[in-house]
C-alpha cells in the first residue's frame, strides 16, 4: 500500500509533460512535415513493395498450416526468442528496443494526435498516467539497449557486421536514443514550459526523420521481417519444385519469387549467417549475407523481371558453389531468411542451363548418370561387398530395408559402419535386408542443383521401392535420410526412413551399458541429422551407453560442418583452409579419446583431417561402431567365469 502511494505521489510530481496546446501555424507545419516524411517513406517503400509483389509467385506456397505460422510469429517476432537465444546480450538489447517500440506505438500515435489537439492519452488520467509511466520503463530499457548496441557496433565491431562502419546505423541509433531521451526528459519539466514544447518538437522530428530512413536502410526489417517470419516456407532448406518448362532455378531476376524478394529486403545485415558459415570461416569467397544482399541489390537495380543473370555482377558463381549446405546461416537468421533455397536456387540456375563448368562437378554428374553412385564405382563392387558381408537381401518379409548408400556400399570406412550396424541389429533381433539394386539418393546433385540427374535417380529409386514393396528404411547416412524423406517427395511418396541413431535410441534400453570408466566420446552433430532433422538427443543417448559423452564448443544447432555437404565432398580441393581441419582440431582439443560420428561423410572427412592436424589423434568411430564394440565387450564379459557366476 505504502509503495503504491509513493509511486502515485511520484507520478503526480513527475509526470509526462506535453504542451497543452498548439497554434494553427504549428499544426500546419506539423501536417507539412508529416506529409513530407510519409512521401519520403513511400517513395522508396513503394518500389520495394512493387518489387516484392510483382515478382514471380512461389510455386508451392501454402498458407496452411496457419498454426505453425502464428506460433513462429509469436515466438520469433513477439518473444524475440531466436534473437536472444543465439546472441544473448545483443539479443536482449535488441529485444528491449523491439518491445519498447511496441510499447511506444500508442505513445507516438498520441504524440501526433495531440499535435492536432486530438491527444487521447491524458497524463493526468489514471490510464494515461499509467501508460506514460509504463512506456517510460521501456524508454529506459530502449535507451540502455540502443546505447549498448551502439557501443558494440562502433567500438567492439564484430567482424561479421562488415568491415565498413555503417553511418546510417549510427544515425538511426542516435535518433532512437534521442526519441527516448526526449521522452524521458519530458517527465522532469512542467508541461507549460518552453522546454516541454522544445522536447515535443524534437521528439516529433526524430520520428519524422526516422520514418523515411526506414525503407532506405536495413531498418526496413522493422516493417518487413514480421511478415517474412510469418510467411516463411517453414521447412528447413526447402527446395521448391521447378514450375513449367522455362523454370531452371534462379537464373535471372524473372526467376526470383515473392518470398525471395521479401526475404532479400528483410535482411538486417546482422551477419549471424556469416559468423556461422563454415566456408566464410575458412577463407572462402562465400558470404551468405552478401548472397542475400546481392539479390537485394539486383532487385534495386534491375527489378524482378530482368533477364540479366543473377550470377555475375551481383553474386559470384564461385561463392555459390562453395556452400556445404550445412544450413547454419538459415538456422541462425533472426528475420526468417531462407538462404539454402536461394543458394541452391542459384546453383540450379547455373547447372540446369550448363553455365557451371567444373571438371569435378562434371565427373560427378557423369558418374551418377552412368554408375548410379557418386563415387563412380561399378555396382558389382557393391554386390561383392554384400556377398562378403553376408548381408541378407530384402524380400519384403523383413522389418527394415537397410539402405547402404554410396558410402556404405563402396567406401571402406562406410562398409565398416554398415557391418557394425548390422551386428547391432542382429543383437536387437531386428530383421532387415539390403536391396539388390540401389542408386544414389541424389543428395549431391540435389544440393548442387542438377535437377535432371536428381529426377532420374529419385524416380529410379522410387521404382525400386515400389517393386520391392519397401515401407520402412533405416540407414547410416543422414544425407540419404533427408533426401529420401523430403526431396524424393517431389516425385512420389517416399517410404518411411530413419537414421540409425534414431533407431538405436528407440531400442536403447535393450542395448548394453558400460557400467563405469567408459571412454570419453566427443560427439559431432552432422548438419543433416541435427539442423536438418532435429535429432540431437538420440545419438547422444546411444553414445551415453558406451562412454562419457562430451560436446565440442560448437554443438547441436551450432555444430560446425565437416565440409563434405552440398556435393562438396566430390568437388576437389577447396580454397582457403579446409573446413574439416578446423573442425577436427576443435574435436581433438576436447581431449576426448573417441570422436563419435554419425554420418559416413563426416567420417571420411575427419579421417584425413584428424591425421593431418594431430600427432596423436583421437579414435574416429561411428556411433554404430561404438555400440557394436560395447555389445562385443559385453558378450566377452558375459562369458568370463566371474561374470557367469554373477549371472547365475
Amino acid at each position: 500500500m505504502n509503495n503504491a502511494l509513493t509511486a502515485h505521489a511520484l507520478a503526480t510530481t513527475l509526470h509526462y509533460a506535453e504542451p497543452p496546446s498548439f497554434s494553427t501555424a504549428e499544426m500546419v507545419l506539423l501536417a507539412v512535415l508529416i506529409v513530407l516524411s510519409l512521401v519520403g517513406f513511400f517513395r522508396r517503400f513503394d518500389r520495394v513493395l512493387r518489387n516484392i509483389f510483382t515478382a514471380r509467385k512461389d510455386p508451392d506456397f501454402h498458407l496452411a498450416p496457419i498454426g505453425r505460422r502464428i506460433w513462429d510469429f509469436f515466438w520469433e517476432v513477439l518473444c524475440q526468442a531466436k534473437v536472444i537465444k543465439e546472441r544473448p546480450l545483443p539479443g536482449l538489447a535488441h529485444a528491449f528496443v523491439f518491445w519498447g517500440f511496441l510499447a511506444f506505438a500508442l505513445v507516438s500515435l498520441n504524440h501526433f494526435a495531440s499535435g492536432f489537439r486530438l491527444g487521447f492519452l491524458d497524463a493526468d488520467s489514471l490510464i494515461g498516467g499509467f501508460y506514460f509511466w509504463f512506456a517510460a520503463i521501456f524508454a529506459l530499457l530502449v535507451a540502455v539497449g540502443i546505447a549498448g548496441l551502439f557501443v558494440r557496433r562502433f567500438f567492439v565491431r564484430p567482424i561479421w557486421l562488415g568491415r565498413k562502419v555503417s553511418i546510417e546505423s549510427g544515425i538511426i541509433a542516435f535518433l532512437i536514443f534521442a526519441l527516448m531521451a526526449t521522452y524521458l526528459a519530458a517527465f522532469t519539466i512542467p508541461s507549460t514550459s518552453a522546454a516541454a514544447r522544445g522536447l515535443w518538437w524534437t521528439h516529433a522530428l526524430c520520428i519524422l526523420v526516422f520514418l523515411p530512413l526506414i525503407p532506405h536502410t536495413k531498418h526496413l526489417h522493422l516493417v518487413l521481417s514480421p511478415f517474412t517470419i510469418f510467411l516463411s516456407r517453414g521447412e528447413f532448406s526447402h527446395i521448391p519444385p521447378l514450375s513449367g518448362d522455362e523454370d531452371f532455378g534462379l537464373v535471372a531476376g524473372k526467376d526470383l519469387t515473392q518470398l525471395v524478394a521479401l526475404q532479400a529486403y528483410s535482411c538486417v545485415e546482422c551477419g549471424r549467417c556469416t559468423e556461422h558459415c563454415p566456408a566464410n570461416n575458412t577463407g572462402k569467397v562465400l558470404n551468405p549475407k552478401e548472397i542475400i544482399l546481392g539479390v537485394r541489390s539486383y532487385l534495386n537495380d534491375l527489378g524482378p523481371h530482368s533477364e540479366e543473370p543473377l550470377l555475375g555482377k551481383y553474386n559470384s558463381q564461385e561463392a555459390a558453389f562453395q556452400c556445404t549446405t550445412c544450413g547454419a546461416c538459415e538456422y541462425q537468421c533472426p528475420v526468417g531468411i531462407e538462404h539454402l533455397p536461394v543458394i541452391i536456387g542459384l546453383r540450379r540456375g547455373a547447372v540446369n542451363t550448363g553455365a557451371w563448368e567444373d571438371d569435378h562437378g562434371t565427373k560427378l554428374f557423369l558418374a551418377l548418370e552412368r554408375n548410379g553412385n557418386a563415387l563412380g564405382m561399378s555396382s558389382t563392387e557393391r554386390d561383392k561387398f554384400i556377398k562378403k558381408q553376408e548381408l541378407p537381401i530384402f524380400d519384403g518379409s523383413q522389418e527394415y530395408c537397410l539402405w547402404l548408400g554410396c558410402m556404405g556400399a563402396y567406401d571402406p570406412q562406410g562398409r565398416e559402419i554398415i557391418a557394425s550396424f548390422a551386428k547391432v541389429m542382429d543383437y536387437l533381433g531386428t530383421s532387415y535386408g539390403v536391396l539388390k539394386k540401389e542408386k544414389c539418393t541424389g543428395d549431391p546433385v540435389r544440393r548442387l542443383g542438377n535437377d535432371l540427374v536428381f529426377q532420374q535417380l529419385a524416380e529410379q529409386n522410387l521404382e525400386i521401392m515400389k517393386q520391392q514393396k519397401v515401407t520402412r528404411i533405416v540407414t547410416i547416412c543422414p544425407h540419404c535420410v533427408r533426401t529420401i524423406a523430403k526431396d524424393w517427395q517431389e516425385y512420389g511418396a517416399s517410404p518411411e526412413i530413419e537414421h540409425h541413431s534414431e533407431f538405436m535410441a528407440r531400442y536403447q534400453d535393450k542395448l548394453p551399458r558400460i557400467s563405469e570408466n567408459g571412454p570419453s566420446i566427443v560427439y559431432h552433430d552432422p548438419c543433416y541429422l541435427g539442423r536438418y532433422r532435429g535429432s540431437y538427443d538420440q545419438p547422444r543417448e546411444v553414445l551415453a551407453r558406451s562412454g562419457k559423452v562430451i560436446d565440442p564448443p560448437r554443438a547441436r544447432e551450432r555444430s560446425f560442418c565437416c565440409g563434405a555437404g552440398g556435393g562438396l565432398a566430390f568437388l576437389g580441393e577447396e580454397s582457403g583452409e579446409r573446413v574439416s581441419h578446423v573442425r577436427a582440431r576443435e574435436l581433438a582439443a576436447t581431449g576426448a579419446s573417441i570422436v563419435g560420428a554419425a554420418c559416413p561423410f563426416c567420417n571420411t572427412m575427419f579421417r584425413d583431417a584428424l591425421a593431418a592436424t594431430s600427432d596423436a589423434p583421437p579414435q574416429l568411430l561411428d556411433i554404430a561402431q561404438i555400440t557394436a564394440q560395447t555389445i562385443a565387450a559385453q558378450s566377452i564379459a558375459n562369458t568370463t567365469p566371474s561374470n557367469g557366476a554373477q549371472n547365475a
Partner: protein, 256 residues
C-alpha cells in the same frame, strides 16, 4: 561447317554381363545403356568445332528403339538434329554391314566432316569409322587429338605410339576417329533435355536401306575369360615376391 557424328549405344560400363542362352551374345535384359564413351568425345569435339566455326551437328545412330535415349542425350548436349537407323539386327552384322548402313543413311547429307569415336566399348573393333570413309570415298585419319578446321581442309593431330604425335593435313570432306579424353565432356542439362524435345530426329528403317552384304566374319561364341583370382597375394621373402611380381608384370600384365 556441317558435321556428322556417328554414335553408338553400348551397355553402361561396369555392367554385370551375362551370356545369353545362344552363347553368342550377352543377355540384354536388365542392362542399362549409354553412349559409347569414345563417341561422347567425338560428339564433344563436333560441338566445340560448331561453337568455333558455326554450322550444324547431326548425330547418327544405328540401333534398336532404346537408342532414342542416347539420341536424346546427344541432342540435349547440343546436336542440332539426328538420324536414327532403326534396326534390331546389329549383332548379326559385321563392320562392313554396319558401315554400309551408315553410309547409305548419311551420304545425301554431304557433310564436311564425319566424326566418330576411335572404337566401341562393346566390340572394340575400331573400324566402323575407317570403313565408313572407304565406303564414302573420303580421306580419314584415326586416333585424333586435335582438329583445326581451315577453308576446305583440316589439320589434325594424330596420336602415334610411345608419346609421338603427328600433324596431318587433308582435304574436306573427311572422316576422323577421335581419341578419348582429348577434351572435357559436358554434362547433360535440364535445359538441354527440354530443348531436345523440339529437335528433329529422322527415323530410317533398316529395311529401307540397301541390303548389306553377307557378313564375312561371324561371332561363334562368347565366354568369360579364364577367371583370375580376385586378388593374387604374392608370398615369399621380399626378393622372392619381387621376382614373382616381375614375372606377372611381364607375362600377364605385359608392361615390362
Amino acid at each position: 561447317m556441317k558435321i556428322i557424328v556417328a554414335i553408338k549405344q553400348v551397355p553402361v560400363r561396369d555392367s554385370t554381363l551375362r551370356i545369353d542362352s545362344s552363347g553368342k551374345w550377352i543377355d540384354e535384359d536388365d542392362l542399362s545403356y549409354e553412349i559409347n564413351e569414345p563417341d561422347a568425345y567425338a560428339l564433344e569435339e563436333a560441338l566445340q568445332l560448331k561453337e568455333k566455326h558455326d554450322g550444324e551437328v547431326i548425330a547418327v545412330l544405328a540401333g534398336p528403339e532404346r537408342g532414342s535415349q542416347t539420341i536424346r542425350e546427344a541432342l540435349a548436349k547440343g546436336a542440332d538434329r539426328a538420324i536414327h537407323i532403326e534396326c534390331d539386327d546389329l549383332a548379326s552384322l559385321d563392320t562392313l554391314g554396319v558401315a554400309s548402313r551408315l553410309a547409305a543413311a548419311i551420304k545425301d547429307e554431304k557433310a564436311d566432316l564425319i566424326l566418330t569415336g576411335l572404337q566401341s566399348d562393346d566390340l572394340g573393333l575400331g573400324q566402323t569409322g575407317v570403313v565408313l570413309a572407304e565406303l564414302l570415298g573420303i580421306p580419314h585419319a584415326t586416333i585424333i587429338m586435335q582438329v583445326e578446321a581451315g577453308d576446305g581442309s583440316i589439320k589434325v593431330k594424330r596420336e602415334l605410339e610411345d608419346g609421338w604425335f603427328q600433324h596431318v593435313q587433308m582435304p574436306l570432306p573427311a572422316l576422323l576417329t577421335i581419341q578419348s579424353g582429348i577434351s572435357k565432356l559436358r554434362y547433360a542439362t535440364l535445359m538441354g533435355i527440354k530443348k531436345a524435345k523440339t529437335k528433329e530426329v529422322r527415323r530410317i528403317a533398316a529395311g529401307d536401306l540397301p541390303q548389306a552384304a553377307t557378313p564375312t566374319v561371324t561371332l561363334a561364341r562368347i565366354y568369360l575369360p579364364e577367371k583370375k583370382k580376385e586378388t593374387q597375394m604374392i608370398e615369399g621373402s621380399p626378393n622372392e615376391a619381387a621376382a614373382k611380381l616381375v614375372e606377372k608384370l611381364k607375362f600377364e600384365v605385359r608392361v615390362i
